[in-house]
């Protein structure tokens, strides 16, 4: 038994390829927990960052600087009454949030957090991610139809039209990146997520800078399409509050609503990780060429720990700035405790065995986190599109651009 557990630790492939079921299960649980924490953190960060962009304070009441607000929200949602409309189709109404959540979480099977840090590596990795996430639109349509109400139906119609049209532009951008993986001696590309990052490693370039500006344009198309795919601002027409109340999930409440919420954020993380894998070098650290060598490797390996220490320092600074009134004593102690936890995590990340194992995961997560910040930034910056403008952008701008980039990439691949 112990041999079975430890035998995987020496291998340098994913548990799926090594055929180790136990470690595959451990990875799945870890990814699930990590995602849940990420969604909770994202919830707090989004409200806080949006508030600061609009010169407000945001949540401040529950916990120091509103840190416990997402937990309070989750509790509220769990103990809220679960209402099903009388005229709703019960089975479809019950299935819809499940389908959305299952598809949003299933795609993480192939997300490569590192050369060995994925549940498994599939031969059709990108195709699998696009395919399974395209199933989530079914859940949206089902939710809108089963509610048997006008606003959800309109929201579902809009969002299915939007998701199906932007999938095409997205697919074209992905194909141009997959085409770049085939520029090796054998001339054989790959669809596997780990293989794509290894191709970038072998060609010594992130695909966003390949054939400048072709890679950049493909990344731009994908970046726009992924915002539309996840129904986020400025493309959040399906849930345009002023017109459609809350879109397809108007009739959902309590726990079922929170499943939609969870699915939305994990879908955002999923598409961001496709973008990171395809164009931003996946788990590779920044500047692998310009700043290469033993010394630079050592320096970059210290960054994960240092960034956590920086967060801890910021937390201690905020602790010092807390009001000195006795009413805030518990909150001040809590904030200091949070800082201590962050500092401890930072110190653990300096230990050599942890440091070497955590590197790739850290860089991948950092890139995904940057993309998530962009999502919040878009929401704070851009006004919402009108529906016909949305369709015009999808079909008349992104689609021709995608075809053009694909053809030019193919030509450049043959000539250069």
């Amino acid at each position: 038994m112990l041999d079975y557990i430890t035998s995987y630790l020496k291998s340098d492939t994913t548990p799926g390829q090594a055929g180790n079921l136990l470690w595959a299960f451990i990875y799945i649980v870890l990814i699930f927990l990590g995602l849940s924490v990420a969604v909770i953190a994202m919830n707090w960060l989004e409200r806080k960052i949006l508030a600061h962009m609009q010169v407000r304070l945001g949540p401040m009441r529950v916990g120091p600087h509103g840190l416990l607000q997402p937990i309070a929200d989750a509790l509220k949602l769990l103990i809220k009454e679960d209402i099903m409309p009388a005229e709703a189709d019960p089975f479809v109404f019950w299935m819809a949030p499940l389908i959305v959540v299952i598809t949003a979480f299933t795609v993480f099977i192939v997300v490569p957090f590192g050369p060995a840090h994925a549940v498994t590596d599939m031969n059709i990795g990108v195709l699998f991610m696009l395919g399974v996430s395209s199933l989530s639109v079914l859940g949206v349509v089902m939710a809108g139809w089963a509610s048997n109400s006008h606003y959800p139906l309109m929201g579902a119609l809009r969002s299915s039209a939007q998701m199906v049209s932007y999938e095409i532009a997205m697919g074209l951008a992905v194909i141009s990146a997959v085409l770049m993986t085939s520029l090796n001696r054998e001339g054989v590309g790959t669809l596997s997520m780990i293989g794509i990052v290894q191709a970038q490693q072998a060609q010594h370039v992130w695909f966003i800078f390949k054939f400048f500006p072709l890679g950049l344009i493909a990344f731009f198309i994908f970046a726009v399409a992924m915002v539309a795919e996840t129904n986020r601002a400025p493309f959040d027409l399906p849930e345009a509050e002023s017109e459609l109340t809350a879109g397809f999930h108007t009739e959902y409440s309590g726990f079922r609503w929170s499943l939609f919420f969870l699915a939305e954020y994990s879908a955002m993380i999923a598409v961001s990780s496709i973008a990171v894998t395809l164009w931003l070098g996946g788990w590779m650290r920044p500047f692998p060429n310009a700043l290469s060598g033993e010394t630079w490797d050592r320096v970059f390996s210290l960054i994960p720990g240092l960034s956590f220490l920086f967060l801890a320092a910021m937390t201690f600074y905020s602790t010092a700035r807390m009001p000195k009134h006795s009413y805030f004593r518990v909150q001040t102690i809590g904030l200091a405790g949070f800082g201590v936890v962050l500092a401890l995590i930072g110190l653990v990340l300096f230990l050599p065995p942890v440091r070497d194992r955590i590197q790739d995961i850290f860089w991948f997560s950092a890139k995904v986190a940057t993309s998530m910040y962009m999502y919040i930034w878009y929401r704070g910056t851009f006004p919402r599109y009108r529906f016909d403008q949305l369709m015009t952008v999808g079909w008349k701008v992104l689609l021709p651009m995608g075809i053009g980039v694909l053809i030019l990439t193919a030509i450049a691949g043959v000539l250069l």
Binding site: D89, S134, L138, W145, L157, S160, V164
Partner: protein, 169 residues
């Protein structure tokens, strides 16, 4: 690496596909029929996976389950469902149906009896790792002309649809 529970998965996926196929024609509500059809298509994708054809399975999910069926649902949701539920569902052609069912059953029995002689004892192990490449070589190498003609045909179909839908373009 040995395949995991191959026989079990085969029977499971086949049963799923067949049962949801039956549900497609049995349900009165067209939306339920469409959902059952999606389940049948997903089961089919699983069967492709079992044939070591992951690319075909992925394309099946993207195109049929994620694309075409969404359009189906889209259209069905715009139709008045109450009216269609009152309509006669079966045409009471039980004599013809019985004949067809008997013929199909006979075919199944024959395949079961003669099957061992027809099919090889052991399936050829297909290379799963290069499935995508093999498909690409076939499509863009051997059947290049047919592939391009098919795309031209689709283009004509799109233009035809636009011409029929819009009087003034």
């Amino acid at each position: 690496m040995a395949p995991v529970a191959t026989t079990f998965f085969f029977y499971f996926l086949s049963a799923l596909t067949v049962l949801s196929g039956v549900a497609v024609i049995m349900r009165k509500n067209p939306v339920h029929s469409a959902l059952a059809l999606i389940l049948a298509l997903l089961g089919q994708a699983g069967l492709y996976l079992m044939l070591y054809a992951p690319f075909v399975a992925g394309v099946q999910i993207i195109l049929y389950a994620g694309g075409i069926m969404v359009l189906f649902l889209f259209v069905i949701m715009l139709v008045n469902i109450e009216k269609s539920q009152k309509e006669e569902q079966f045409n009471k052609q039980w004599l013809v149906g019985l004949g067809a069912a008997l013929a199909l059953g006979l075919l199944f029995v024959l395949v079961y009896v003669k099957g061992r002689a027809l099919f090889p004892d052991r399936a050829i192990l297909l290379p799963e790792q290069s499935n995508t490449q093999q498909v690409a070589i076939l499509l863009y190498g051997n059947y290049m002309f047919a592939f391009e003609i098919a795309s031209l045909l689709l283009l004509v179909a799109i233009i035809g649809a636009v011409v029929m839908a819009k009087k003034r373009i």
